[in-house]
C-alpha cells in the first residue's frame, strides 16, 4: 500500500461534525426517520453535508470549512433551522445530547448501507450499542508534522473538551453518575484509544503500514481514537466531545479548539513526551465521570488540578489568540461554563429533577436544540 498522503489545508481552519438524535413526539423515544429526513432535505442542501449514521435514528451534519467562529456559527444555525423545519413537517423532533436517555439498544435498526452493515456484522451488539452521538472538531494543519505535534499536545487538553461538551448523564433509562456516559461506550471498540507516541508523520506512516500489513486496519476510518490525524482533509480531528444540546455550544467548543491549537503551535511546548499518555486514561475517566468537577493530573508539573480551574488557566493564555481569531465571544461563553454555569450534563440532570421523567427530559432537550 502507498504511504498515506497528508493533504494540505489552511492552518487553523475549523469544521465540525455533529451526530444528532431523531425522536418521535409521542413518547420521545428514538424514531427511525433518518431516510425520510435525508430525502426531504436533499433538495435544499447547500453548504456542508448531511449524512446517515450507523442506525436509523441518527443523522450527521458536517459543516463546511471555516476560518472564523462567527461564520461557522451562522452556518450551523442555518442548518439547524432548516432541519428543524423539515422535522416539524414530519412530526419528529431533533435533539442534541451524547446519548438518548432511555432508548433500548436492541430496538435499533442498522441503516442499510454496505459500510454500516459490515460494521454491524463485524462488531455484533456493539454496533447497535454505538447509537451514541458525538461532536467531532477538525482543525486544519499546514503540514503533516504539525498535525502529529498537535495530535500529541491536544491529549493534555482532551479532559477539557470532554467536560465542556458532556451531555450524556442518562443511558438506557438510568443516571449513570457519569457526565459523559457516551465515552465509555466508545471504549469498547478494539481500535479505540489513542495514537501511539510517534515522532513525526514518517513514523506515523510506518506504524500505519505495519497495522495495514497485519490486516487489522484498511483505512484511517478504522481507528476510533480520541484524537486522530485525518490525512484526507489535512486536519486533526478531536473526537471525545458529546454532541452538545445547542449548535451554539458546538461552535463555542470548536472555537476553543481553534484558539488552543493556535497557542500550542505558537508556543511549541516542551512537554510533549510519552508521559502524556501515562496520565491520559486517568484524566479521561475523571472528565467523563465528574465533568468540570473532575481532577486531572498534569504530567509536566506532576500535580493534580481541577478541570474547571485548568480550563480557566488555559483561557487566560488563549484570549490574546482569540482576539486575532475574532472568537472572544465564544471563549467568554466557555469561561462562563467553567466558572459555574455548568455543562449540558448538569442542565439535563436539573431538567430531570424538575420534570421527573426521562421522556420529558428528551422533550426539553429537543426543544432546546430546535429553538
Amino acid at each position: 500500500m502507498a504511504p498515506l498522503e497528508f493533504k494540505h489545508s489552511e492552518a487553523l481552519t475549523i469544521g465540525v461534525e455533529l451526530e444528532l438524535q431523531l425522536v418521535n413526539t409521542s413518547d420521545f423515544n428514538l424514531a427511525p426517520d433518518a431516510d425520510d429526513l435525508l430525502r426531504r432535505a436533499a433538495g435544499d442542501w447547500h453548504a456542508g453535508e448531511l449524512k446517515p449514521e450507523l442506525t436509523q435514528s441518527m443523522i450527521e451534519i458536517n459543516s463546511g470549512v471555516h476560518e472564523r467562529y462567527e461564520t461557522l456559527l451562522a452556518e450551523l444555525r442555518t442548518t439547524r433551522d432548516r432541519l428543524a423545519s423539515h422535522a416539524r413537517q414530519m412530526n419528529v423532533a431533533i435533539a442534541g445530547g451524547g446519548t438518548h436517555p432511555f432508548q433500548k439498544w436492541r430496538d435499533r435498526k442498522i441503516y442499510p448501507t454496505e459500510r454500516f452493515l459490515t460494521v454491524s456484522k463485524k462488531y455484533g451488539f456493539l454496533a447497535k450499542q454505538f447509537t451514541v452521538f458525538g461532536q467531532h472538531v477538525h482543525i486544519g494543519c499546514a503540514s503533516a508534522d504539525d498535525a502529529i505535534y498537535l495530535n500529541h499536545a491536544l491529549i493534555r487538553y482532551l479532559p477539557h473538551f470532554i467536560a465542556l461538551a458532556a451531555s450524556s448523564p442518562f443511558y438506557q433509562g438510568v443516571d449513570t453518575a457519569f457526565d459523559s456516559s457516551r465515552l465509555s461506550i466508545v471504549n469498547t471498540f478494539p481500535l479505540a484509544g489513542t495514537m501511539p507516541f510517534v515522532a513525526d508523520w514518517r513514523a506515523f506512516n510506518q506504524y500505519f503500514q505495519t497495522m495495514y500489513e497485519f490486516g487489522i486496519v484498511k483505512s484511517m476510518k478504522d481507528f476510533y481514537w480520541d484524537v486522530r490525524p485525518k490525512p484526507e482533509f489535512g486536519t486533526v480531528e478531536i473526537r471525545v466531545c458529546d454532541t452538545p444540546l445547542t449548535v451554539d455550544r458546538a461552535a463555542q467548543i470548536a472555537a476553543y479548539a481553534q484558539a488552543l491549537s493556535r497557542w500550542l503551535w505558537a508556543e511549541r511546548v516542551d512537554w510533549v513526551n510519552p508521559e502524556l499518555y501515562l496520565v491520559h486514561s486517568y484524566n479521561r475517566f475523571q472528565a467523563a465521570r465528574h465533568g468540570l468537577a473532575g481532577t486531572l493530573v498534569d504530567h509536566a508539573t506532576r500535580t493534580p488540578i481541577g478541570i474547571a480551574e485548568d480550563i480557566q488557566h488555559t483561557l487566560r493564555e488563549l484570549f490574546p489568540h482569540a482576539v486575532d481569531l475574532a472568537s472572544t465571544n465564544a471563549l467568554e461563553a466557555v469561561l462562563a461554563i467553567a466558572r459555574g454555569e455548568g455543562n449540558d450534563a448538569a442542565w439535563l440532570r436539573k431538567t430531570f429533577a424538575e420534570k421527573t421523567t426521562l421522556p420529558d427530559v428528551v422533550r426539553e432537550q429537543a426543544a432546546r436544540w430546535m429553538q
Binding site: N24, T25, S26, D27, A31, P32, D33, D35, D36, R39, R40, R88, Q89, M90, N91, D107, T356, T357, P359, D360, R363
Partner: protein
C-alpha cells in the same frame, strides 16, 4: 344427585367464555404467525369465524352478548390511543396534512356513494353507508403496527389519517341522522336534538374525562404504574358513562385521547403504552369480530362488497397521490399509506349505533349493504396493512411482540 355438585350439563359463564376466547385466539394467532405473511389478527378473526354461529356454532348469540363488555373495553383503549396520535400541532407545521386527510375521506366517500347509487341503493342509504366506509379500522392498524414494531413516516401518517377519518365518519353519520326517518324505537325527541346530544354530549364527556384524569394525575405524579391504572380506569369509566348516557363511546374516547395529547401543557398525563394487558382484550375483540361473519357474506353477493372495497381504496389512494407532491411524500410512501388504510371500521366500532337507536329498520338495511364489504375487509384488511407496513420498510417482517 347431591346438591353440592354442579348441575349437569355444566353451565358456562363469562369467565369460561373469556378464557376460551383468549385461548382460541392464541391458537389462531399462532397459526397465522407461522405463515410469516398473515398478521395474528387474521388468525383471531378466522378462529372466531370457525367457532361462531356461521360455521360450528360453538359461540352462540347469547355468548357473544355476554362477552360484549370485553370488546367494548378494548375498543375504548384503541380509540383513546388513536386520539393520542392526533397531534394538532403537526397539522399546523405540515399544512398539507389536514387537506390530504379531508380529501382522502371525501374522495373515498364519493367513490363509494357513486358505486352504491350505480347499484340502485337509495340515496340516503348510500350516503350513510359511504360515510361509514370512510373510517379505517383503528384497532387493526394499531395492532398490526404494534405487532410489526412499525415506526416511521408511513406508520405515523397512517395513524393520523385513521384518527381523522374516524372523526369525520362519526360526525358525518351524526349529521345525516336527522334525515333518517324515525322508526319505532325513536323517542319523542327530534333526530336533530338527538344528533346534537350525541355530538355535544360525547365531546363534553370526553373532555370531562380528560379534565378529571389530569386533575388526578397532578396528585399521583408521573410514575408508570399509577398512571396506567388511572388511564385504564378513566377509559373504562368513560365507556360506561357513554353507554349510560347513550352517547358515542367512539367520539368521547377520541376526544379524551386528543385532549390528552394536545391540551395538557404541563404533560401531566404520560404516554402510556398498553402492551400485553390490552392485548388480552384485543384478542377477544377480534375473535368476536370473526364470530359475527357469516359464510353467505362471501357468497355471490360478495362482489358488491368487493367493488365497494376497491373503489374505497382507489378513492383514498387517488387523494393521497394528489397531495403527495405538495406534502413532500414519496410515491412509494403514498402507495403504502393508501394500502395501510384499507381495513374498514365497519359496524363493530359503534359509528352506526345511533342509527340503530333511531331507526332499527334503516340500520338493518344498511348492515345488509355494507356487511359483505366489511366481511371481505376483515379478511384482506389486516393483510393489506401488514403488507404495506413491511413494504414501507417500517415494520419488521419477523417481529413478534
Amino acid at each position: 344427585m347431591p346438591d353440592f355438585l354442579p348441575t349437569w350439563p355444566p353451565v358456562t359463564n363469562s369467565f369460561t367464555l373469556f378464557g376460551l376466547l383468549l385461548l382460541a385466539g392464541l391458537i389462531g394467532g399462532w397459526i397465522a404467525a407461522r405463515t410469516r405473511v398473515l398478521p395474528s389478527i387474521t388468525g383471531y378473526i378466522a378462529i372466531g369465524f370457525i367457532l361462531g354461529p356461521g360455521v360450528l356454532g360453538l359461540l352462540n348469540e347469547e355468548a357473544l352478548r355476554d362477552t360484549r363488555i370485553f370488546a367494548d373495553i378494548s375498543l375504548g383503549l384503541v380509540v383513546f390511543e388513536l386520539g393520542r396520535r392526533l397531534d394538532l400541532q403537526w397539522a399546523r407545521h405540515d399544512r398539507w396534512l389536514l387537506p390530504s386527510g379531508l380529501a382522502e375521506s371525501l374522495l373515498s366517500f364519493c367513490a363509494m356513494f357513486a358505486l352504491l347509487r350505480y347499484f340502485d341503493i337509495a340515496p340516503l342509504e348510500a350516503a350513510v353507508a359511504a360515510t361509514v366506509g370512510v373510517a379505517t379500522a383503528p384497532a387493526v392498524v394499531l395492532l398490526v403496527a404494534a405487532e410489526l414494531k412499525a415506526e416511521g413516516p408511513v406508520t405515523r401518517r397512517a395513524l393520523w389519517h385513521v384518527a381523522l377519518n374516524n372523526i369525520i365518519a362519526m360526525l358525518g353519520v351524526t349529521l345525516l341522522l336527522p334525515f333518517i326517518e324515525v322508526g319505532d324505537a325513536g323517542s319523542a325527541w327530534s333526530p336533530t336534538g338527538r344528533a346534537l346530544w350525541l355530538v355535544a354530549g360525547s365531546f363534553l364527556l370526553g373532555y370531562a374525562a380528560f379534565w378529571v384524569a389530569r386533575l388526578l394525575a397532578r396528585f399521583i405524579g408521573k410514575s408508570d404504574a399509577p398512571q396506567f391504572i388511572l388511564v385504564v380506569g378513566m377509559i373504562v369509566l368513560t365507556v360506561g358513562v357513554a353507554q349510560m348516557g347513550r352517547l358515542s363511546v367512539l367520539l368521547a374516547l377520541l376526544v379524551f385521547g386528543v385532549a390528552a395529547r394536545n391540551f395538557d401543557p404541563n404533560h401531566r398525563l404520560i404516554d402510556i403504552r398498553f402492551g400485553h394487558a390490552a392485548r388480552l382484550f384485543f384478542v377477544v375483540l377480534f375473535v368476536l369480530t370473526g364470530a359475527t361473519l357469516r359464510p353467505e357474506q362471501f357468497g355471490p353477493i360478495a362482489w358488491i362488497g368487493l367493488a365497494l372495497v376497491l373503489v374505497r381504496l382507489l378513492g383514498k389512494a387517488f387523494a393521497l397521490y394528489l397531495f403527495a407532491w405538495p406534502a413532500r411524500i414519496s410515491a412509494q410512501q403514498a402507495a403504502t399509506l393508501s394500502l395501510a388504510l384499507t381495513p374498514m371500521a365497519g359496524l363493530a366500532i359503534g359509528i352506526t349505533q345511533p342509527i340503530y337507536d333511531v331507526a332499527p329498520d334503516f340500520g338493518a338495511r344498511l348492515a345488509a349493504i355494507v356487511a359483505s364489504g366489511i366481511a371481505i375487509l376483515h379478511v384482506i384488511g389486516p393483510i393489506a396493512t401488514r403488507y404495506a407496513l413491511v413494504a414501507s420498510g417500517e415494520g419488521e417482517q419477523d417481529a413478534r411482540d
